[in-house]
Amino acid sequence: MLILISVFLIGILLGWLFRKKEKLEFVSGKLTLVSIAALLFLLGLGVGINDEVRNHLDTLGLTGLLIALFSVAGSIFTAWITWNIFYKKNER
């Protein structure tokens, strides 16, 4: 995991150092998309050959949806508190 985090931070530093290179942001954006596509293809492949996971896709999907709903509900609740404490009175 440490390697992952280091690679990520090195990336930010490299990007910042070479930010004057015009095409860098564009090219790194495209390369990001390519590596995401490759990784999700591999994830799909891994799921496809894994009987255990493949046979439980519906349960996994439902679990995912529920976690999303609860996460969003919780976030909205705390955003409402932050709004009322720090932002609302500056509105008008």
Partner: protein, 201 residues
């Protein structure tokens, strides 16, 4: 949105090929995944660092603005705790790691596939796609019931790109910077918080 469809089609394509050729595939997928993941994080980092707005966004940060990503993190944590108390099928750390994807489905699903396995990877993928879609559909409603920070919080890490237009529409242009700073901070934190959650709990 177009990018999301493009990316999802690769998952579905892999799934399909995996099912068809499941007896023929005998190499270790996780080995290839490791290197692709390093490449991804490097590119995401470079992309973030080379963004001309990166420094100006970081500079425009005032202390108060940190309360927005902080409240998103605490809110997501609360939501997952409630989910865990009601359903609790997964280990708490697993659910929390999924929640801490904050809508960044590509990165969180891949990190969790690596750290935990395909089951959690798939849950993270679907949970975080759902978070993005829920925000795209309901941001105006969230702004109405819970104030103008609610759409930003709901969007999580996506508040800097995919859900930014609907957030601006729901909360107003004055919240553009808030939304982008929120998205940048959560995007940077996703790899840390996801791995922290799965390893601590």
């Amino acid at each position: 949105m177009k990018d999301s469809l493009f990316i999802i089609s690769f998952f579905v394509g892999g799934l399909f090929l995996g099912i068809v050729f499941r007896d023929a595939i005998d190499f270790d997928i996780s080995r290839i995944t490791d290197y692709a993941l390093y490449a991804l994080l490097l590119f995401v980092g470079i992309n973030l660092g080379s963004d001309p707005k990166f420094l100006s966004i970081i500079k425009s940060i005032r202390p108060r603005i940190f309360f927005i990503p902080l409240s998103t993190i605490i809110g997501t944590l609360l939501g997952v705790v409630v989910y865990h108390l009601i359903f609790g099928k997964l280990q708490f750390g697993e659910s929390l790691a999924v929640g801490f994807g904050f809508g960044y489905y590509s990165l969180s699903s891949i990190i969790l596939t690596k750290l935990s396995g395909e089951s959690l990877g798939v849950i993270a993928l679907l949970a975080n796609i759902s978070r993005e879609v829920i925000t795209l559909l309901l941001a105006p409603f969230f702004a109405k019931i819970a104030g103008k920070l609610a759409p930003i919080s709901a969007g999580g890490a996506t508040s800097m790109d995919t859900t930014l237009p609907i957030i601006i529409k729901s909360s107003g242009k004055e919240y553009l910077i808030h939304s982008m700073v929120h998205g940048v901070i959560l995007t940077i934190l996703v790899p840390f918080l996801v791995s922290l959650a799965i390893q601590l709990f």
